[in-house]
């Protein structure tokens, strides 16, 4: 089986301007949505309380919202999480009230709404672990169960945001340094510009759809940055090689050749990674959902940006053969494919 049969190089760079305009527009749209809508940060960043509950029957989200709002803990967000029986309740970090009291009173309210009573019971799991937890019981049934509670103080969130920014900075500087040493500063700049544009676009999607931006999504975004730079590196590697091998080609043609000859690998690799990510999206459940979504967007735009944006920027920056094939020395010895190499008379 072989999917890709290119008998000649595809002239990508002839359309470089068009691609750059497209990505500039997407980029601007992403920035626009980030600026107007902003990211929907999870409580890990903002601070607050999240309670995850599971109902025995399909939960009435509207009823839950009304009941919790009556408690006056501030802006409440109630939504389904995963299935129709799982409900997640978000509350802002309350000042002056102990958060355990907030949780207890919310759970009490939910339990009463199902005409049950809360008691602390010792529960034995099937693995033999014993734990005590508040249980809502109503006529031998458990109409609602408290699955998890999370509370984050506001100072933790501020730190996370700062650390996230530092991590991004470290990735950018580290990758640029490495590429500048290994290739050329023009490639370093091109790769970083192309891939930061991916990051902004992912964030733009999260802003547009108001998907929750949490720590795992942040990890995914930074992983994507490393991953799509890797894509650019593969193409740059080819460009360098082509500059050495095909001395008659001009920069345009060299870039076209590099992109065409790595096309098959690009599509197959990304396809495989995407299969894994898709598997997470389908089977990973709600916790990994945001992670998988961020990766999916990242992978798709990663291909686009490495192929069409990074190489084009390197071209605009004026990459030349001399930048990569070091002048001086006998270039014949450097060329592994020269049939006359080593034939010294």
């Amino acid at each position: 089986m072989e999917f890709f049969r290119f008998s000649r190089d595809i002239p990508f760079m002839r359309h470089a301007l068009v691609f750059n305009v497209i990505s500039a527009l997407t980029f601007l749209a992403a920035v626009f949505f980030l600026a107007t809508r902003g990211l929907h940060f999870s409580i890990e960043f903002t601070g607050g309380i999240v309670m995850q509950t599971t109902y025995a029957q399909t939960a009435d989200v509207e009823k839950v919202r009304i009941n919790v709002e009556k408690l006056n803990f501030g802006e409440v967000l109630v939504q389904n999480f995963g299935s129709s029986r799982d409900v997640i309740i978000r509350l802002p970090a309350a000042k002056g009230v102990k958060q355990s009291d907030v949780v207890t009173s919310v759970f009490d309210t939910l339990c009463k709404a199902e005409s049950g009573t809360v008691s602390t019971q010792e529960v034995r799991t099937d693995k033999g672990e014993v734990s005590t937890r508040p249980v809502c019981s109503a006529s031998n049934a458990e109409p609602v169960r408290l699955q998890s509670v999370e509370f984050v103080g506001p100072q933790v969130g501020r730190e996370l945001a700062v650390n996230g920014a530092y991590a991004l900075l470290a990735v950018v500087v580290g990758i640029m340094l490495y590429l500048a040493i290994r290739f050329e500063w023009k490639f370093a700049v091109a790769a970083i510009v192309a891939n930061l544009h991916d990051v902004i676009i992912i964030l733009g999607f999260f802003a547009f759809f108001q998907w929750e931006f949490n720590l795992t999504v942040l990890a995914a975004v930074l992983a994507v940055l490393g991953y799509s730079v890797n894509e650019s590196v593969v193409i740059f590697d080819r460009i360098r090689e082509a500059f050495r091998r095909f001395r008659k080609m001009n920069t345009h043609e060299v870039i076209d050749h590099a992109i065409t000859s790595t096309m098959s690998r690009t599509i197959i690799t990304h396809g495989c990674t995407q299969m894994m990510v898709l598997s997470m999206l389908i089977f990973g459940g709600p916790t990994l959902h945001g992670f998988a979504i961020a990766l999916t967007i990242g992978i798709l735009f990663g291909i686009y940006s490495s192929v069409f944006v990074a190489a084009a920027i390197a071209m605009w920056l004026g990459v030349k053969r001399e930048d990569l094939v070091k002048p001086g020395g006998t270039s014949k010895e450097l060329d592994p494919d020269d049939p006359n190499a080593g034939a010294v008379v």
Binding site: A223, D237, I268
Partner: protein, 625 residues
């Protein structure tokens, strides 16, 4: 050219075996167990306890898989839940004759079911994070400001006492935040005081300023001294938390420092946040009282007479009773430090204690009149007192004194720990809290496992179809990568969380890139007309530079996450970084080994099974220019 020397194959086989051995424990699951730990701060378990547990179990005719002493507790593993429950009851009945005042905590627990020979190789399963097994997580902020204030308060008292001793007249000593201000009337006294304070309190640095007609000396803690105060505060809080958390009988509590002033507490299996908080927040108090040595008290000790009025009966750590007066001489608040050390002359282990100025005055008055008497140091927890130690007063004591006599070095450090364990060095606030139910954890494991499994299967199927035999090799290499990754994580005893599983999946998805690069290169070489053996050789050689470059950039991103991430991001980053390293080994060295083994020996190789190689009209695809 496509042959590996024997040592390379040997290396691969060893890597495979090590990978298998260390991955294996993760598949055995967990078995019910009973854990016995100390219920009192003054009681310390040792290996003798394991034998005692064995005897009790034998008497109850219960068969444990094994009984072992580990860390600070004795664990016994059982085949089924029924035996576990019976063992708990039997142990509880035998070890805690008085249920209202239990000396030991007998808790149900889980232990890995992996066989003994694996455990003896230190092949242990990975820890599961709270999101996978359920439990409580607290992040606590230590109030360092108040630790420093407390220190400044103690120093203020010391200065007052020092100046009085040397008869240096001052016009007032005040504490302003973490600074101490001393006012003097004349220059002469200032100079004398400065020399004295500089000698006696090396932790402080002094600045002089005119304050009206007075001269003001302001002392503040030197930065390294302040750091020392903070470090001890954190260490003491962690020790105290450990002692308290033990009581919950939870399987593997994690109590760690995070950053400069935070403590993470993870209690797997615990669901009752309120009770956990209650226990963590409890305070213990230390009291110093005199021992009653009168004749009536002597009679009360032997049981011949009643306990005299105004005294109480306590039991020493060695079991002998002690009659102690009810009047409290000193409390733990006055004790600033307790450290184990060695006596300068006798080289015996001792515990050296430091009390603050107020404590020193009381000690002086008390000990002057009571040389030859005994004093008792008691630790009160949950309203019940325990005698930590009851030394004889040998001479008049000041602010620094020591407890010595027939102690081993370990006993000295235990005693010092107990003396300090009374209370928290600085108050703490819970700033982050998570509770995860056990069923949610089990669900998360299943979801993570399914994601990896189906993703892997899809990639394997595609690779085998598209690259034929080379696809099979790539799939085996990917499987080898997964094996190595899990083995390394188990060796490091890393904690696996859901983001960690996601990282495993993502790393596998990205690791296949190396093999795709290699296979595409080989095809390209074949397309260019190279002989099969040459094509394999060149394919691997030329792909290597690209693989290295792309993995290094990914690794940079992973390391940045590791350096700046916290919590879930860190778990993700650890797995991600390790996975990149194992993938380089498996995708290049291992897959090459397989290919060499298959094709390397055939001298006249005509074709390789790498799927269809389509050749364009021109022999070199890009040589149109």
């Amino acid at each position: 050219m496509n042959r590996y020397p024997a040592w390379k194959y040997a290396l691969l086989v060893i890597a495979l075996l090590v990978g298998l051995v260390y991955t294996l424990p993760n598949f055995f699951g967990e078995a019910p167990a009973v854990q016995v730990s100390s219920g009192k701060a003054t009681l310390k378990l040792d290996s003798a306890m394991a034998r005692r547990v064995e005897e009790i179990l034998a008497k109850a005719s219960l068969k444990a898989d094994f009984v072992q002493f580990e860390g600070a507790s004795v664990k016994a593993r059982f085949a089924d839940l029924d035996a576990q429950r019976k063992a708990k009851d039997a142990l509880n009945a035998a070890l805690n004759p008085d249920p209202t005042n239990p000396s030991y905590i007998v808790a149900l627990n889980l232990l890995s079911r992996s066989p003994g020979w694996l455990t003896s190789l230190h092949a242990l399963p990975m820890f599961l994070g709270l999101d996978l097994r359920g439990g409580v997580y607290f992040l606590m902020q230590v109030d360092m400001k108040s630790a420093l204030t407390k220190r400044a308060e103690a120093v203020t008292g010391d200065i007052r006492a020092l100046l009085r001793d040397k008869n240096l007249r001052h016009a007032g000593i005040t504490r302003d935040g973490n600074n101490v201000e001393v006012r003097f009337r004349d220059r002469e006294t200032v100079n004398a005081a400065r020399t004295l304070l500089g000698d006696q309190l090396p932790d402080l640095q002094w600045t002089e300023a005119a304050d009206g007609t007075d001269i003001k000396l302001t002392g503040n803690l030197k930065p390294d001294a302040a750091k020392r105060v903070q470090d001890t505060a954190i260490a003491q809080n962690i020790t105290t938390l450990h002692n308290r958390v033990n009581e919950l009988g939870t399987s593997e509590p994690v109590i760690q420092q995070q950053g400069a002033d935070r403590i993470v507490v993870q209690l797997p299996g615990v669901q009752d946040t309120a009770r956990a908080k209650d226990i963590i927040g409890r305070t213990a108090t230390l009291e110093l009282r005199m021992v009653d040595s009168s004749a009536e008290a002597g009679a009360a000790v032997t049981g011949a007479g009643p306990v005299p009025f105004g005294t109480e009966r306590y039991v020493e750590r060695n079991g002998s009773p002690l009659i102690v007066k009810k009047q409290v001489v000193l409390t733990g608040d006055n004790l600033t430090d307790a450290q184990p050390s060695f006596d300068g002359q006798t080289h015996e282990p001792i515990v050296s204690l430091t009390v603050d100025a107020k404590g020193a005055r009381i000690m002086k008055d008390l000990t002057r009149d009571n040389v030859g008497q005994r004093m008792a140091i008691l630790l009160f927890e949950k309203g019940k007192g325990e005698v930590i130690t009851a030394p004889v007063i040998r001479s008049e004591l000041g602010s620094h004194f020591q407890i010595s006599g027939r102690m081993t070095a370990e006993e000295a450090s235990d005693t010092a720990l107990l003396l300090r364990a009374g209370s928290l060095a600085a108050p703490m606030d819970i700033i982050e809290e998570k509770t995860i139910g056990p069923s949610l954890g089990a669900e998360n494991i299943l979801k993570g496992f399914h994601s990896v499994m189906f993703g892997f299967a899809a990639i394997a199927l595609f690779m085998c179809l598209y690259y034929m035999l080379f696809g099979v090799v790539s799939t085996l290499a990917l499987g080898f990568n997964l094996l190595l990754l899990i083995a390394v994580l188990s060796m490091l005893q890393a904690t696996l969380s859901l983001p960690g599983i996601a990282a495993i999946a993502l790393t596998l998805g990205m690791a296949i890139d190396s093999n795709v690069l290699i296979n595409e290169r080989i095809r390209e070489e074949l397309r260019g007309g190279a002989a099969p053996q040459t094509a394999i050789h060149n394919g691997y050689e030329r792909a290597w530079a690209t693989i290295l470059d792309s993995n290094v950039t990914t690794l940079i991103a992973g390391l940045a996450l590791l350096a700046f991430g916290s919590g879930p991001v860190r778990g993700f980053a650890v797995v991600h970084c390790l996975g990149i390293i194992t993938s380089m080994f498996s995708a290049v060295v291992f897959s090459r080994g397989l290919v060499n083994l298959w094709y390397g020996r055939q001298k006249k190789l005509k074709s390789v099974a790498i799927g269809q190689v389509w050749k364009p009209q021109a022999s070199v695809p890009a040589a149109k220019a």
